[in-house]
Symmetry: D5
């Protein structure tokens, strides 16, 4: 038995598709959506993406990180395999950690027009120091804008223990 019929799955091209071509450059156009079947209820969706990698824009050396994306959908929801391909497109892209975090959020806002979204990136250390940027967004003029402010203010009161091993 299927909870979604063919029509409800119609906008999805990558999931279950054998002939995936992996992008070699930053490729926000890979992102696909499907329709939210529960638009009358606010709910959270979180993606844990511990296999993110990009390049340092000055030295070219690889950076590794875990990206956490949480959002409250409105009409459109990002399909997870297309999200994987999109994140893959940073693999040969050089940018600062702080910039990657902002760019990912901006691309997802443009794609889904969510009520709320936040992105938290946690990178491995370089020179003994690791960097964890976090940004969030609530649709302007709605209660989600206030929610964004509330969550921003409460962010990371308990930093996780880090020992570089």
């Amino acid at each position: 038995m299927q909870g979604r019929n063919r029509e409800e799955l119609s906008g999805i091209h990558f999931l279950g598709n054998q002939k995936t071509t992996y992008p070699v450059n930053y490729a926000p156009e890979m992102l696909e959506t499907f329709v939210n079947k529960h638009p009358g209820r606010d709910y959270w969706v979180k993606f844990n993406c511990p296999e993110f990698t990009s390049l340092c824009p000055m030295t070219g050396q690889p950076d590794f990180g875990c990206v956490y994306i949480s959002y409250v959908p409105d009409q459109k929801m990002v399909e997870s395999k297309s999200l994987k391909l999109y994140l893959f497109s940073f693999r040969n892209h050089g940018d600062f950690h702080e910039d990657c975090c902002n760019i990912i959020m901006e691309d997802l806002i443009r794609l889904m027009e969510p009520k709320y979204i936040e992105v938290w990136c946690k990178f491995t250390p370089r020179g003994g120091i690791s960097i964890d940027p976090y940004c969030n967004y609530g649709r302007p003029g709605t209660k989600y804008e206030e929610m964004a402010e509330f969550r921003f203010r409460s962010h990371d009161l308990y930093p996780e223990k880090v020992d570089n091993r």
Copy 2:
């Protein structure tokens, strides 16, 4: 000595019943309740269900997850063995993670008419990404509706560490 007499246990059929037949399709009708003996006090009940499995609606491959259900009972309380049989009925059912989470909550609202309920699902990764949907509900027009808003706003400020191993 027993804390509940025979009458107080009267609506329960599956618990302690040897001849349980496991459902082969999505089966919300399996859910049973017993009566709340402490209706004058608000209290929380949480179920930890780390043995949840369903199928992907597009590829048919199995998905695995942990389902956390927390609610504040009104008159009726879900019996845990019937909950187990209900969750089992997703075993051969195909649906997106985000849809499963909403459906479980809706079925439990219909069953128990609780004051408040929330459902958080944490799935294992596919393609390196894992998905954790969360939804909640407070009875409209009561203080539990405000509680739902408060908890929704405060949800998951500290994402757990995920490394896909």
Copy 3:
């Protein structure tokens, strides 16, 4: 040197007493108190009781759990060895998890008349599902009633990871 003189220890019978007889039935009468020496200050006392066991009222099978009790004392404070004997008296008692949690809190309210109290029970799984009830109480008409409401609303926003192993 002793911080409490003989008089201040006068109501305590079980602590340090060799001839303890363990109760074979549910025995709230075992509970004893001593006097609060810091009544002018609100403070918290928490008991961690990971050795709780009772019986299932329908099947008779043993249940195991950890009971966390936190309270703000007024004049009387529960003595910990008497609390141990009281919790022991559930050993051959059959009751639902949700009922045990409420009963423990009610007995302690009756005993100590605390300003505030809460009880959280975390049981091991049956049928793959574990149950964690939580209840709390603030003295009606005082600020502790509001504190109870606040804590109830904020309860368990971060469910602990459970994997049944």
Copy 4:
């Protein structure tokens, strides 16, 4: 650049194939192999399979476990997606934990004719007790038979901590 050419990948049908049909019955015929490119060197390959599920043969209730498979290849190596499909075929199959463990190893011996293999299954608890069967095999008349004896004798001297949560 590819480390394996088309010929070296020729026996593999499921990996990267969109039209996978998941078996509904125990299906050892799903298992596929590819050729070992390093036959002159003994080396270990381990599969961690934490998403295993089967049914209890007496009660029909679902069982969940993690299967660890380690082997030393000779000429043939099991392809991991076909292994996934094979393990999936236990989903609606009823068998004791101890029997599943032996059957998985036997099917893989028949498939690959490895020099050495071992299978360790760790299940979630039923009735408060969990069961972890382990079996191993070394090709008779070779030094791998002795290795099997050595590893059997040294098995699990340090049981992992289990607390059913």
Copy 5:
């Protein structure tokens, strides 16, 4: 589909039986076996039993522990629900930790006549000290006797960290 037919399950009475009566005294007679279907292969079976409780023979106070049982079957294998009932029968039984460990192993040797067996009990602390007895057995005059000696000599070279919290 079932991996075991009716005959192969014939000696089992408690598993799936609704009318289980829990024993109130030490009851080795509860233990039941089923037949080993893989007698030609040596393999390990481990039971993790974190819900063990007994009484102190001098003070009557409850003791709690985790019992780990590992064995190599010959013809007979202990059925896990009967094992649960047997372990339950220590609930109101008073004995030293060291004695419980030896008694459990002796009862299982008498029942199954295994090739090899070992029992490790890890109790919670009393007076700040916890006790962990371990005993093992290999059938006399066989290689399993040597295995027992080997494992005894290698026992617990890495004591787990214990801090009483």
Copy 6:
């Protein structure tokens, strides 16, 4: 280079002093302070003291705990070696856990006159139960009094897992 000159270190006698005599009785007079060089800014100082030990006032048996002290300094700050000597003085002192916690806080209030302070003690179990008292204080009539109320109300919403091992 030194961040503090001789004058700024003038009130400190124990730190770096070879001839320390350890007190044999409860000795609040050991506590010493140094001057706060950042009085214009509110900031937190936390002491983690996992090596605290005292005696039970009824049985004389030793108790062990971890003491966490957090405060917001005004003009004076407690020097850590003198704090160590002070805590040492409980070594042969008998008092209830709840009393020790209050006494430590009172002595530090008297010493430093801080804007805010809190003390949380976490003891190891006796009879299977452990006790964790917590008290706090904000200078009356200031915003720190409100902060104390806020923190008291929010105290320990997530009890740490305790299993007595």
Copy 7:
């Protein structure tokens, strides 16, 4: 492909520069900034610095700690390699833990003029006691000043477990 062009990287001298000379004295002048490319959005940047070491001003003995720095950038952002060099300059500098924490924050405020910043230092124990100072800052007269007050009030409600091992 690069996310930042040459001009946007122009103020950075140490990153990727082979001829780094490590400062031998406290050297706030090492700190460098780059321009914030997302000035229209508030976002967090956190640095985890577990390799901090300084000297005790009284005894000269080395101290070790982990420094967590979180801030909300305005126009300027601190470059991480220059931050590393700056923190290195404490290596032969003697100061109290509480003073180091304040000084680091003050130097970063002067450098970046951030909207908000906080610094949390967690040191290893001396004499069995460890010290964890925390300070924060919000730009006066803005909402960030209120955010500072909110975060200060909510600081460290859940002290991490410390056992000196």
Copy 8:
């Protein structure tokens, strides 16, 4: 029901005795034994003692450690409450870590004449360094002497992770 009769418990004075007087000096005479009821079988008994404290012989400062004692009994077994009192007697005793470890083992050898015994002490750090002495003993001229040699040679190949927090 009792597993040990009155006679079998006859040599025990401290267990369950209310009037325990805690020794103020090193007191090996506190140690008591009971008879081994399973003399025909070699088995292990381990004591985990995380609440050990003594004094530094040069500075008088308190030391804290965890003592792990494992032995194979012959005729006599040490009773755990008497062991607790014995270890307590180090509370005001000054000795090096390495000496304490040897002394504890020697006293237990004299008491029980065990076949084999080992003592591992793990102390908290002083000056950033912690010390973990280990000694063992097998009865001379028996196979236990060889076992001691084997275990000594294999000792601590995997040092536990230590970070002083």
Copy 9:
């Protein structure tokens, strides 16, 4: 002060060199060595490389893993920055996990001619299964060949817990 003079560092080009160009294809020629200053003593060197990534040869999707390399040097030792560049060169290279592991070891044998070497790779899951290959080598005809056999036989008796989260 320097422990190595200029001559002893003469073969190293990448370490501390700003103008590193990262290779875009599999590049074993990047590997560099320095001379072993302790050739008279056998010792171990281990590299932990948790930032390894390659591509799947059939689907092109990225794989992530941790590579552990341990060796006993003879005359030459691999320099760690050149090792980093070498491992980076797998970034756009497609190969099976089992092949990568063998190739890395072969390249390092060719480079250093070590007495002994082993490589263990632990990858993140695909389709719910993760793969961990391990290979080792001892110089033929020496005692290191026997050591390789010994270590191979003893490999991974305790599989780490894996739950795909």
Copy 10:
């Protein structure tokens, strides 16, 4: 009471001495010994030193690591405060990780002439890779030489999990 008299403590100058001057260069001459009071018994002493830091000989950047030292004393034992001062002397010393490990062991052999010694260093990552050297020594011509060989061969069969965070 003291376990060591004045004479037995006579060779120790740094422990308890206020006027410690910390060395600014590599200073093996700081190491001091005391006499072994248990020369008739072989026993282990382990030092955990997680606060080790040195400099990179090529770039000058600081390195951080944990040093584990284990030895079997003969007549002389290294005093721990002098060991601390010795390890401190690497603070401004530049050397490769592999060299530091060998040098520390050599200095301790020269100092104590132990029967056996081993040193394991675990450093934090640079460029995403961390290095863990290990060396050991048994007195030539004794059984300790064989023990060294045995331990070398068995070294680190279970690499700890490393994730660079």
